[in-house]
Symmetry: C2
Subunit: 123 residues, 2 copies
DNA sequence: CAGTTTCATAACTCAATGGTTATATAAATT
DNA sequence: AATTTATATAACCATTGAGTTATGAAACTG
């Protein structure tokens, strides 16, 4: 799979990365990784309002990262991994694509900055 | 490293994920993975204006994903992998943390990490 | 039935994004 | 010196994002 192939679902990739770009949402996802939780349970650790949490859940849902259920008057959220796969896939592919300098990154960058003023990395 | 540890640099993680949430910027990064490029070269494949590209580069620079150089009147951009590692780290840690439901994804990642039939990279 | 719990939705504010065009700056070219 | 090239910056516009408070709708409880 090529990098450009991941762009064949750009909207989903956009939505997933955008969803991950917020610390509250990442925290919610981490919480959901331990099991499904109601809106109230998800809101509890934060100081923001319940509607704000509901909005975050909508963002996560639109990205496909969670699914909502109905349990009486509760609307618990459950994690869905599939869309995360797109993000991981893109990043892993990117890393492989740029393999030459990715692994020993820090060391190489230091070398580049000091030993080689003009960035001829791996061409 | 735990998931919560990645939240110790939330701003950077925020900026990196946000930077990756735009297809133009992902495309720019893919282009830069093949080597540094000037603003004009980066703008060429797109139909948007040059200032728009400069703005995207600023976003990428703020996220630490690129560095700018000065070569006469050109300001070529060069990839910087370090912040991307933070994003990969968070996602991989998340995957590990939620390993039980990530089995299918593990398979996909193995695929990705292994065979590369065609040497062709990307746009 | 009346009240409470759980959650969603609406309406609003404020800041940030992503785009534009127009202009400025600095180096290269003629 | 004048012009062209490469890029940045400013000013503006429309849209989105993240938050708020207020209110509504179900479902549960007494």
């Amino acid at each position: 799979m090529k990098l450009s192939d991941y762009e064949s679902q750009p909207e989903n990739l956009d939505a997933v990365f955008a969803a991950l770009a917020d610390p509250t949402r990442r925290s919610i996802l981490a919480r959901l990784a331990t099991g499904e939780a109601s809106v109230g349970e998800l809101a509890e650790p934060f100081e923001i309002s319940q509607p704000a949490i509901s909005k975050h859940l909508k963002v996560l849902e639109r990205a496909g990262l969670i699914e909502r259920e109905i349990d009486r008057q509760r609307r618990p959220a459950r994690l869905n991994a599939a869309p995360m796969q797109a993000a991981i896939g893109w990043l892993e592919e990117f890393r492989r694509f740029w393999s030459s300098s990715f692994d020993e990154l820090d060391g190489l960058l230091e070398e580049l900055k000091q030993a080689e003023p003009k960035g001829a990395a791996d061409e």
